[in-house]
């Protein structure tokens, strides 16, 4: 089971994928907002999204889990 963690502190601005969706490597799965910038979060490898672990508006710290893959 692979997880994507936040690389920096910020708030969840937009969630692009849904649970159950197949994503390809490099695809944007979420957008964070931090330091007034939009920070795209990309999938490192292809896979199927199991759960979305943060909701729009949530504060996430560096290292918090954003998405879990099956």
């Amino acid at each position: 089971m692979k997880q994507i963690q936040s690389t920096m502190a910020g708030t969840v601005f937009n969630i692009v994928v849904q649970a159950g969706e197949e994503v390809s490597a490099g695809q944007t799965i979420m957008v964070l907002e931090s330091m007034k910038m939009e920070i795209p979060v990309e999938a490192e490898t292809a896979g199927k999204v199991a759960t979305i672990d943060a909701q729009i508006g949530d504060f996430v710290n560096e290292g918090d889990v954003l998405v879990t893959f099956e």
Partner: protein, 513 residues
């Protein structure tokens, strides 16, 4: 019938033993790991495979320790004379005995005296514990290797190609080199092996996780370039070396000018919305000669890009914020990465190009506790004390200390150029309006009135930091159309090539760490 051996036969026999290296089973093992025998590495490394070897007969009386596990040699790489030490891991796992260490020290001394680059081809298990008194604590023991590296740092280029382990004390060879190229799957660096970690601190971990090439090139920052084979490591080293002079007294060679890569124009690449990400690599491609970018620490702290390139044939070191990764915000690791790169370029006369699009240094508990201020200080000190030609280009935004870190006007860049999209301020409009008017904004009850007030203040702020206003005040020196930027940079780097700044009379600054 016995035939008496001639002198020559004896020599041939000794040489054959030395050239063969260690036991056949170790040669087999290397093949399985896609590793080359040390002499094959050297044949590939040197121009036409030709080199002069020293200390070839070291420990030849021992019988089973050909060359005492290390080959030291001088020869040419890309036309440049270099000195090389290369471990032979078929001989006692490339471990260091007293003669191994003495050979390494001697080849370093030759590199220093002849003022040529020193290359370290590392594949070694570390100290030969049975020989420790002869190679570890003494004046010409292993410590002397590192002492020499430190003395030669910035005097001649020092390059490490990591083909296998560099364990315990040996791990400081790569640590003191200008650059470390690591072969994925085979190269590793660690002070204590996983076996030792389990015995001493109770941690269960694999070698890859704890000291593997990918980890060091992406997490610890101890590695600079991750490659998939030894052949690739050698060809990347040749590309890197071509940017450097033989030593600090010489200047980098100028190559033939090549047109930049065909692609979208800078206008098309850079979004108008200051908050939207774009790929800085695509912008760099439009400024440099095609195919010349040598990325250093590509996988580590990707929010800042550091690499060597050529603009109309001239070597430059590029430091660029990457808005696509972490918004281009500066962190402790990004500051360390850029500081080391700037020191490297400044040491060998390679001019610096800063491409700024930076919202500032990261804020928050996590980074403050990790000491982001002292890390940021390293970057600002390295940038500030660099005396090579320095050009600062404000591509889009440069907020707060981000402007300082990217060679803003106060740090004596030879020129500070703004693109028409540039915005320089203590902070961006949204943050600034919030900071100044937050009480007033909250006091407005009608939401429509509130939005109207905020928008008015945004507008006023934007006018206050308008780039033509900054140009009128001579804060920036020049506003350049993106389509002319490459040409302007090439002309200005040529113009500043004779720059010389005498050093203030002091021993050295007190480096922040």
């Amino acid at each position: 019938m016995t035939v008496k051996m001639t002198y020559n036969d004896r020599l041939e026999e000794k040489l054959a033993g030395i050239f063969a290296g260690g036991h056949a089973k170790y040669h087999e093992k290397m093949k399985e790991q896609n590793k080359l025998f040390v002499r094959d590495r050297l044949a590939l490394l040197f121009d036409d495979g030709e080199y002069l070897e020293d200390g070839r007969f070291a420990n030849c009386e021992a019988g089973d320790l050909p060359a005492d596990g290390v080959v030291t040699a001088t020869g040419k790489v890309g036309g440049q004379q270099v000195c090389v030490m290369a471990n032979d891991s078929t001989v006692k796992a490339g471990s260091w005995g007293s003669r191994t260490v003495e050979k390494i020290i001697r080849i370093q001394e030759i590199a220093e005296k002849t003022r040529v680059p020193m290359l370290y081809l590392v594949d070694s298990a570390g100290a030969r514990i049975t020989d420790q008194l002869d190679m570890f604590p003494n004046r010409r023991g292993a410590g002397k290797i590192f002492h020499n590296q430190v003395r030669m740092s910035g005097f001649v280029p020092q390059i490490c190609l990591l083909f296998g382990p560099s364990a315990a004390g040996g791990a400081y060879i790569p640590a003191f080199c200008d650059i470390v190229i690591m072969v994925e799957g085979n190269a590793s660096m660690y002070l204590g092996s996983p076996r030792m970690a389990e015995k001493v601190i109770g941690e269960k971990v694999t070698l890859e996780e704890m000291g593997g090439a990918r980890m060091h090139c992406s997490v610890s920052g101890c590695g600079d370039v991750l490659v998939s084979s030894e052949q690739e490591a050698i060809s990347e080293m040749r590309r890197y070396l071509a940017y450097f002079p033989a030593n600090f007294t010489e200047t980098p060679k100028v190559a033939e000018s090549i047109a930049s890569k065909e692609g979208r124009s800078l206008e098309a690449i850079i979004p108008e919305n200051q908050n939207a990400p774009f790929d800085m690599y695509e912008a760099i491609d439009q400024l440099i000669d095609e195919g010349t970018f040598f990325d250093i620490k590509k996988l580590f702290a990707p929010e800042i890009i550091t690499g060597l390139a050529r603009i109309e044939g001239q070597a430059v070191g590029i430091i660029a914020n990457q808005p696509k990764a972490k918004g281009g915000v500066l962190f402790g690791d990004s500051a360390d990465k850029a500081a080391k790169f700037i020191n490297l370029c400044d040491a060998f006369g390679i001019p610096l190009l800063f491409l700024a699009d930076v919202p500032g240094f990261m804020i928050g508990t996590k980074v403050e506790r990790a000491g982001i201020i002292r890390h940021g200080a390293k970057l600002i000190m390295a940038m500030s004390s660099a005396t090579v030609p320095k050009i600062s280009v404000i591509v889009r935004k440069a907020y707060g200390a981000g402007l300082y870190a990217m060679a803003g006007p106060a740090f004596e860049p030879d020129v500070c150029i703004a693109l028409p999209t540039a915005q320089i301020a203590v902070m961006g409009p949204e943050a600034a309006v919030n900071a100044v008017f937050s009480n007033k904004i909250e006091a407005i009850e009608d939401p429509k009135e509130r939005i109207k007030f905020v928008q008015e203040k945004h507008q006023e702020y934007k006018e206050e930091i308008d780039i033509y206003k900054l140009a009128s005040e001579m804060i920036i020196d020049e506003i350049v159309s993106p389509s002319n930027l490459r040409e302007v940079l090439a002309m200005r780097f040529r113009a500043y090539s004779t720059k010389h700044i005498p050093q203030p009379p002091r021993k050295h600054p007190v480096y922040p760490v």
